[in-house]
């Protein structure tokens, strides 16, 4: 049994990364509790996407610790290994498999054995189909099950991607700008859905839309120039003088 270093689900400490001398992330420290929902806001270039890249293994930090579940050092693993640990990610620009049907998109995301030979000899099964049905209901795409993902609207693609996250059933969800390009009604529904998910998952949401963040009603972290500027309830951070400066000052 490995000794847990920390009780946090996700633990970032003193993480820095530089691209050609430019410090995208500068000694960033951040912790997420199991079952917590966290919103991360910050101006362009604050390092939000780079932080996600580090957590999901796309970018290796120059220094610092990134621990998952208190035991696993994420800086040593690649994307696939991290995904299989139970960290799911939704991208800023919705990326679904356009050539596949909505159903196949979910099927690929569905938790299960991801090795070549088990997918090669994979057979359809009833529990699997039922699970896909449930997710299709949740993301309201049941009627488009057979449609090719390329033909979905922008909002539908966002939802399909969230559905794929659900199918993965991860312990931690990283959601990058889930409501970009959505109508107000869709935004509201998305907030509702995320809150629903957060009941039994940890979720990190990166978002620009303040109304949406308010809707989420969770702890907020403000990033600026690669490190944490302020943390707390939305009302608390939006009253913070430095945060106002960063957003409005220049």
């Amino acid at each position: 049994m490995e000794l847990k270093v920390t009780d946090y689900l996700l633990y970032l400490d003193g993480v820095s990364v530089a691209f050609d001398g430019f410090k995208a992330i500068n000694s960033l420290s951040l912790t997420i509790e199991p079952g917590e929902m966290r919103a991360i806001i910050g101006p362009n270039g604050a390092g939000k996407t780079t932080m996600m890249d580090i957590i999901t293994g796309k970018t290796r930090p120059d220094t610092g610790d990134v621990l998952f579940d208190g035991t696993v050092d994420l800086t040593q693993l690649d994307e696939a290994a991290i995904a299989n640990l139970g960290i799911g990610r939704k991208f800023q620009k919705p990326t679904v498999f356009e050539m596949h049907t909505v159903e196949d998109n979910l099927r690929l995301a569905l938790k299960g054995d991801r090795r070549v030979f088990s997918t090669l000899f994979w057979r359809d099964s009833t529990p699997e189909r039922e699970k896909i049905d449930r997710i299709l209901d949740t993301i309201r795409l049941g009627h488009l099950r057979e449609a090719s993902a390329a033909n979905l609207s922008h909002g539908q693609k966002q939802w399909l991607e969230i559905g794929m996250l659900l199918a993965q059933d991860p312990k931690l969800l990283l959601v990058d700008e889930p409501v970009a390009g959505m109508t107000d009604a869709e935004t509201e529904a998305t907030a509702h859905l995320l809150k629903e998910i957060a009941k039994d998952h940890s979720v990190i949401v990166v978002e620009h839309d303040m109304a949406f963040v308010r809707e989420l009603d969770c702890k907020v972290t403000v990033l600026h120039e690669g490190s944490v500027l302020a943390e707390g309830a939305l009302d608390h951070v939006s009253a913070d003088q430095r945060v106002i400066e960063v957003y409005l000052g220049r």
Partner: protein, 380 residues
């Protein structure tokens, strides 16, 4: 149950394709052997051999389509795997010559005697046994593909970079096989074969049987490829092709999938090469020419990338055109035609013959559905 799965795996296109192959397996021997020579329906043996050659190309194209069409790996080095399989077969055929060579050496092939070699190089041992040679037909290209792919895919070399280094790979092989001291006959390659499994290579019957075997191999390769692309692994491959990094974030080991399909495809190419060599009677380093490998890509593109059947049809169509051109007065213009084919296909028919046809049919069907919908339900 198994037949059900088999049929479910095949689409209409595949059923027609396999049906045509089956028909050819039955009809060609009759037209070749039973129908008298004078009849207009008679298929002469040279034509059988020519078709056999095209079918080998079709298998090669199928192999390439599996990696390019479904996994997005544009290999410009599949000719190398084809040639390796061909060399493995050629080595078996050389050993079968025995003492009937010009120098009548029972062990050493003529070119080794000519080079004053005293004994067989280690890698020539075992090739006198047919089963071993057949194993090598699959293993030699498979191993090369595995080692190459293991390095390339693990370090995430993708897109045109991968294409360029596969081209460099086949170019390096070309240079290597041109060398006499490599032990593969240098410039002249391997030729003057006498017999295969005791049957004379040149005889009409052997040629017919080789043709039938090639047909069978094409059918089996198609079924195997189809089984892969319709499985969940096939869906993963398409996912890799269209959004590689997304697939990774879903937890799939992209490099394993690529390695699997690349190695399998290389083995298929090797098989095609092995069937090709006894039918054309020679294998030499020119098969490693980078240009050859790129030509395979155009076969696939003409037929329709990512359709399997299209790849095979494209290979046959382009080579039919090549034969027609290069045997007539138009010979000097063949390269113009081939070049134009590359340009026009990529510009105006990116989906190839099959894809364009399917698209046209799809559009017609959609129109029909729309028309039907319009008549039953009013617009929303």
């Amino acid at each position: 149950m198994l037949t059900n799965r088999f049929l479910a795996m095949l689409d209409a296109r595949g059923r027609i394709f396999l049906g045509v192959i089956l028909a050819a397996i039955v009809l060609v021997p009759i037209l070749n052997l039973v129908v008298p020579t004078g009849s207009s329906l008679h298929v002469p043996t040279w034509l059988v051999s020519l078709m056999g050659k095209y079918l080998c190309y079709a298998i090669l194209a199928l192999a390439l389509d599996l990696v390019w069409g479904y996994a997005g790996i544009l290999s410009l080095g599949h000719g190398a795997f084809f040639a390796l399989g061909g060399y493995a077969m050629g080595m078996y055929l050389m050993r079968q010559i025995g003492a009937r060579g010009v120098y009548a050496n029972p062990i050493l092939p003529d070119f080794m005697v000519f080079l004053n070699w005293k004994e067989l190089p280690w890698f020539w041992h075992g090739f006198d046994m047919f089963p071993f040679a057949m194993l090598m037909v699959l293993l030699a290209p498979g191993l090369l593909a595995f080692v190459f792919g293991w390095f390339a895919f693990r370090s995430r070399v993708t897109g045109v970079y991968l294409s360029i280094i596969t081209q460099a790979l086949t170019y390096a092989m070309l240079l290597a096989f041109f060398r006499n001291d490599m032990g593969f006959g240098g410039n002249n390659g391997l030729t003057d074969f006498k017999d295969i499994l005791g049957y004379p290579v040149q005889s009409d019957m052997t040629r017919l049987v080789l043709f039938l075997l090639t047909l069978l191999a094409l059918a089996l390769c198609y079924i195997l490829a189809r089984a892969i692309v319709t499985s969940k692994a096939g869906k993963v491959l398409v996912a890799v092709r269209d959004a590689e990094s997304r697939t990774r974030f879903l937890g799939f080991r992209v490099e394993h999938y690529k390695l699997f399909v690349f190695t399998l495809s290389a083995m298929m190419a090797g098989l095609a090469g092995a069937l090709y060599v006894p039918q054309v009677g020679i294998i030499n380093p020119s098969e490693f020419q980078p240009g050859n490998s790129i030509e395979v890509v155009i076969w696939v593109a003409v037929g329709g990338r990512g359709t399997l059947v299209g790849a095979a049809i494209g290979a046959i169509l382009v080579n039919l055109a090549k034969t027609t051109f290069t045997t007539g007065a138009l010979a000097p213009y063949w390269l113009f035609a081939l070049g134009a084919l590359f340009v026009l296909t990529t510009l105006y028919m990116p989906k190839g013959v099959i894809g364009t046809f399917a698209e046209w049919r799809e559009k017609r069907r959609e129109k029909a559905v729309l028309a039907a919908n319009a008549s039953t339900t009013p617009a929303e």
